[in-house]
Subunit: 447 residues, 2 copies
C-alpha cells in the first residue's frame, strides 16, 4: 500500500517541473507556501530541521523563552502541503549551485536537479574580516548561537558570585553589546532587565544591579533604519532603563578582557568579560558563489544583485530573495527584514508560475508596513508609514504593546503563539525568566 502510493507519486513527480528552494527562513517558507497549489514538484532544503522566528531569538539568548518556543519543525509547519505529494523537505546543506548543470550540490556529494531554483539561504554572522573576534564576541543568528549566549550571560553572573577580587568581579558584571540595530538594542535592554529585575536577591556575594550594560554603535545614532525621531526616542528609553550608550564609536579590538574603541574623544577601553556582537551579518557564502558563476558582482556583504523580478541576469530560472539578495523597489534598496523576505518569497513564486505559464513576470514592489524595535520591558519604538497622512510614531508602553501583539501574531503556528503569550504573561508579572537553564555545565566561561 505504502509502496504503491510511493510509486504513483514518483510518476507524478517525473512529469512536473522541479523547483528547488534553498533555505527555510521567512523568504523560503513564503515561496513554498505560495506554490502549494501549483503544478510543480518542490524540494525545500535547509541545514536545520526548523523554521526560526528570528525576531524573537534574542528572547532565547536572554532566557525569556525556550528554544522550541521560537522555532517550529519545518515538516510540521508544512505537513498539510506535504500531503499533496508535490513537496519534499530535506534536512541538508546546499554546498554549491551548479549553475550550468542546473543542480544543487549537497554536502554529502549528492545533487538535486532543478528546472527552477529559489535561493533564500539568508545571512550568517560576520565580524567584517575579524574572525578572531568571534570567540570573544559571539553573535546571534541561530538557535545554537542563542543557547551559547544564554550560557555566557547566565555564567557571567555565576562567575562574578565566585570571584573574590572586586575589580575582577566587576568585569564579570560588565556587558558590552556591539551594534545599535534592532538586535543590539533588544539585547542591551533585556540584559539590564535581567540584572535589575530578575536576579536581585538571588546572589549572596554580588548585587546583580551593579551590572553595567554598554551599547556601542559605530554611527551617530541607534537604529539607523528608523527616522531620527524614533532613534532619539529609543536612545532616551534605553538610557532610562539603565543602558549606557556609546555612539560614533568604532571597535578596534576585542579580547578576553573587553573591547577597545575609537571614539571622538580618542581611544577608550571597556573592561568586560561578556561581549555580544550585533554589528552585522553577511550573506550566506552561496551568494558569492552563485554571483560569480552567473557572471555577476556580489556586493561587499556577499549579496547577489537581482533583476526587478528577483531573477538573475541571464538566468531567469534562478531567483534570489531575502537577506542574500540585493534588491531594489521603486529605486530604494529593500531592507533586510522579515516582511520583505516574505514578500519576496511570494513574488518569486508567482513569477516562477508566470514563466511556466508563458506570462510575463512582475517587478517586486516592497510594501513597507512599518518598523518596530523593542528595547526591553514596556519600551519600544514603532514607526508606521500612513501614506499621504505621514508617519505614525509610537514609543514607550504603547509601542511595546504594539510590538508584542504584532510579533505573537506573526509567530508560526497557533501552538507557539499560545506558548509564547503564556511565557510572556508569566515573565511580565513575575519578572522571572524561566528559561535560565544552561544545559552544558561546561558552557559556563572559565577564567
Amino acid at each position: 500500500m505504502a509502496a504503491c502510493a510511493g510509486a504513483r507519486c514518483e510518476t507524478v513527480r517525473m512529469a512536473l517541473p522541479r523547483v528547488v528552494i534553498i533555505g527555510c527562513g521567512f523568504g523560503g517558507l513564503a515561496a513554498v507556501r505560495a506554490l502549494a497549489q501549483a503544478p510543480v514538484d518542490v524540494t525545500l532544503i535547509d541545514r536545520t530541521n526548523h523554521h526560526l522566528f528570528q525576531p524573537l531569538l534574542y528572547q532565547v539568548a536572554t532566557a525569556g523563552l525556550s528554544a522550541p518556543a521560537v522555532a517550529a519543525p519545518v515538516r510540521h509547519i508544512l505537513r498539510r502541503q506535504m500531503r499533496s505529494g508535490r513537496l519534499t523537505v530535506l534536512q541538508a546543506e546546499a554546498h554549491r549551485v551548479d549553475v550550468g548543470g542546473h543542480r544543487v550540490l549537497l554536502e554529502d556529494g549528492s545533487a538535486l536537479p532543478y528546472e527552477h531554483l529559489i535561493v533564500a539561504a539568508g545571512a550568517i554572522n560576520s565580524w567584517f574580516g575579524h574572525d578572531d573576534w568571534a570567540r570573544h564576541a559571539p553573535a546571534l543568528k541561530t538557535l545554537a548561537d542563542a543557547l551559547a549566549i544564554r550560557a555566557r550571560v547566565i555564567g557571567a553572573f555565576e562567575r562574578a558570585e565566585r570571584c573574590s577580587d572586586p575589580a575582577e568581579r566587576q568585569t564579570w558584571l560588565n556587558f558590552v553589546v556591539i551594534g545599535g540595530g534592532p538586535t543590539g538594542v533588544e539585547l542591551a535592554g533585556t540584559l539590564v532587565e535581567i540584572a535589575r529585575h530578575t536576579l536581585p536577591g538571588e546572589f549572596r556575594h554580588i548585587d546583580s544591579r551593579q551590572a553595567r550594560v554598554c551599547l556601542v554603535e559605530g554611527a551617530e545614532r541607534l537604529l539607523g533604519a528608523f527616522d531620527p525621531e524614533s532613534s532619539a526616542s529609543a536612545a532616551a528609553q534605553l538610557q532610562r532603563l539603565g543602558v549606557e550608550l556609546l555612539t560614533s564609536a568604532r571597535v578596534t579590538a576585542i579580547d578576553d578582557g573587553g573591547v577597545t574603541l575609537q571614539t571622538v574623544q580618542g581611544e577608550q577601553r571597556l573592561a568586560a568579560r561578556t561581549v555580544l556582537w550585533a554589528a552585522g551579518v553577511a550573506a550566506s557564502p552561496l551568494g558569492r558563489q552563485i554571483a560569480a558563476d552567473c557572471g555577476l558582482q556580489a556586493d561587499r556583504a556577499g549579496r547577489v544583485p537581482v533583476l526587478p523580478d528577483l531573477s538573475l541576469q541571464g538566468h531567469p530560472e534562478i531567483s534570489v530573495i531575502g537577506d542574500i539578495a540585493t534588491a531594489f523597489s521603486k529605486g530604494q534598496p529593500v531592507p533586510g527584514v522579515s516582511p520583505a523576505a516574505k514578500q519576496m518569497g511570494r513574488r518569486a513564486a508567482h513569477n516562477l508560475l508566470a514563466r511556466l505559464q508563458g506570462r510575463s513576470t512582475r517587478a517586486f514592489i516592497y510594501a513597507d508596513y512599518g518598523s518596530l524595535a523593542t528595547l526591553g520591558r514596556k519600551a519600544a519604538v514603532v514607526q508606521l508609514p500612513l501614506g499621504r497622512l505621514g508617519t505614525l510614531r509610537l514609543s514607550g508602553y504603547a509601542a511595546w504593546l504594539f510590538w508584542l501583539f504584532a510579533h505573537v501574531y506573526f509567530l508560526i503556528g497557533f501552538r507557539n503563539r499560545l506558548m509564547v503569550l503564556t511565557d510572556w504573561a508569566w515573565n511580565y508579572w513575575t519578572f522571572a525568566r524561566h528559561a535560565r537553564v544552561v544545559a552544558q555545565a561546561e558552557a559556563a566561561p572559565r577564567p
Copy 2:
C-alpha cells in the same frame, strides 16, 4: 549600603556552623530546604545552574517538552531562602573532598571549609567498563544528554528520508533501547509513539510507521523493581504499543551499525543506527574517593556505605544521601528513586541539627509510597503499597493518568507545572511534539 549588608552578613556567617551540600538533585535540594530555619550557614554547590526533574527528562529527549520545562534555576527555586543571608549557591564542581581537612576542593583549586558535609552528588552514566559504547549508545542523565538524544532521534528520520538504499534506510528507522528499567520503557514507548502518531505524513520517501523499536533487557523481565504482575502488565502494554521486547538478552557489542546480543537462542544482531543506553548508572566518582579516604569500601557502582542515620562510620560530620549512597531501611536496600533521595535529604538535615543541639540522631526509614512507570500514551504501571491491605496495582489509562498528575504535582515550582500541563494537553490532543527542534545543525548523525 550593599557593601555594609555584605559585611554584616560576613559577621553572622563566621559565627554559624558551616554546612556544605554537594549536589542539587532531589536529595540535596530537600536537605537545603530542611535547613531553611536552622542556625547554620549553608553552601550548596552544583555543576549546573539548575535542579533537574529527572523523571521527565525522557520527555526532553523525545521532544515532548523543552529543556526549561523540566529544569529550574537553583537560585530561583531557593530565592526566598537566600534572603535569610544563610544560604550561598555556587555553580561549581566538587573536585574532591579533603576528609581530614574538612574541606571541599573545587575544580578551580579553591576550597570550601565545612563543619558538616552532605554529599548528594548523585549518579552518572555508566557503560559498565565499556566506555567505547558511549559514543554509539548515548545515555540519559543530564539536560545535555537529553538534547543530544533528541538530535539523534530526530536526525535518524531525516537521514532515512535522504537514504536511497532500502536496507540502509531501514537501519535509520530501527531503534534499540538497552535496559528495561523505568527510563528504558519510557524511551521505547515514546519512540513508538513518535513513529506511529507524530511523524506520519511528514515525510515523502519513508513511512515513519515502519520504524522498529526494540527494547533489550538482560534480566528475565522488565521493571525489575516492580512485582512480577506489574512487569507482565508493562510488557503486554509495550507490545500493544508496538515495542519489540527482548528479555534475558545480554549486550556483547555496540557499534555504529547496531547491537550484538547473547540470548538463550544464541548470538543475535540488531542492525540499528540509533541505540540508546538505559541499562545503568554508577555513583559519582566522588563516592569512591570519599569512601577510600574514610576507610570504607564503596560498592561495585561506587556508592558509599552509610550508617543507619546516613552518616559515615567514623565521620559523623559527613552524610551521604541519594544515588551515591548504599543505605538500608528495615534491612532492605533503599532504592535509587527520587522520593527516597528527598526523604534522605530531610533525614540528613534533621540529624545534622540533632548533632548541633547535642541530641541523638535517628535512623533513616524509607517510606515507600509506591512505584510508577509510564510506557507511552495512555500506558503505565502503578504499584502502591497499602500496608496490611496489600498492594494496589493500576495499569493502562488509569495508571497513566495517575502517573501524569503525580509527576506534574511534584514538579518544582508552579510555573513549570502550568507549562508542562499545557504542553502535555496540547501534545495529547494533537499528537504533536512541539520540541522537535534541534539547535545544532551538526548534531544530526552523519553517515
